[in-house]
Symmetry: C2
Subunit: 195 residues, 2 copies
């Protein structure tokens, strides 16, 4: 066992797709976003923006726009990804966008250098902070973010990187298996796996 | 003050560009990469690969290839980014690629869905884990990664997302200021900033 708190949180943290209606403390969400705001970014541009949605009507709009995009995506997806999705029973329905008590939409400022990279690094901070607070999420990436940008009147130049529904799990779900670090790490040469 | 460990680590963590020669424990690096390997990813593809470099000759090769790319970049960079770089005294020289006792090159498998996003989320885990271990880094993104991919004979299809030199700071450096979370967050509408 390790004495690393980060490793413990990272191991424990798992994606949740079914939320119950237990409310989420706004103070916890703000702490989590404060952590995310401390991430490094290209030229310290801090290109993240966070739109917290608690309003049920707005959640319904986001769900509808998302599901429209997903229907199109599921018509065309193929290969290994399609098999994986089928195996998990994942389809175009995104009820978590309404069932979770709160959504955080995460945007990047497209004018900033390495803005997508910086914002996803910030999302890494956010996921561990949620786990510490006992909160759960899924990093949902809409197939057609444009529709959501328009419906919510997001200013030009901002990209929707992810929607994070935040709440508490309805069921106990298990974590997807991860490969051991030795299977994805090399020492001094790609020819030499870490032992 | 907050009782959140993640927020405390996120606030304390800052970029370091000058490293001393104090060696880094490999066990700590492995713990850190274990944490990174636990991140979620598109279709759980786990598209991250980590190449740890301790060999001085390989570090020198990486530095030389990186600086070649940077010289080209600094010939063409302009605007706000150029001003920011000048103000920080940052130029094409990348001595940290040799001075840090150890480098971790982070790659993404370009065939995986959302591979760049997933890998940068994993880098977020890694940065907080380094901070917990008392280790320091900079998320260096080479201007011309192709040269490094070729010199190190990385298999086709993998992208070099970042080079993380890991070690201990030579000087006490201060953290770049971050905007308060209220300046980058909105509630239910982009028109309404978080209070």
């Amino acid at each position: 066992m390790s004495d690393s708190i980060i490793l413990r949180l990272a191991r424990a943290r798992k994606t949740v797709r079914k939320f119950d209606s237990t409310p989420v403390e706004m103070a916890d969400v703000i702490t989590v976003l404060e952590a995310g705001s401390q991430a490094p970014s290209g030229a310290n541009s801090q290109p993240w923006r966070f739109l917290i949605i608690t309003d049920p009507n707005t959640k319904a709009i986001i769900r509808e726009a998302s599901e429209e995009g997903e229907k199109e995506f599921y018509r065309t997806v193929g290969g290994g990804l399609k098999n994986w999705l089928n195996g998990k029973g994942i389809d175009w329905h995104k009820p978590f966008l309404e069932e979770a008590p709160l959504l955080v939409l995460v945007f990047s400022d497209g004018a900033a250098p390495y803005s997508t990279e910086s914002v996803w690094l910030s999302i890494g901070y956010i996921l561990l902070s949620l786990e510490e607070k006992g909160l759960h999420t899924i990093t949902y990436t809409p197939s057609n973010p444009q529709e959501i940008l328009e419906k919510l009147e997001i200013p030009q130049g901002f990209r929707l990187e992810a929607v994070l529904p935040i709440g508490f799990p309805k069921f106990r779900e298990s974590k997807e298996e991860r490969r051991d670090v030795s299977e994805v790490s090399y020492l001094n040469s790609w020819e030499r796996k870490l032992e």
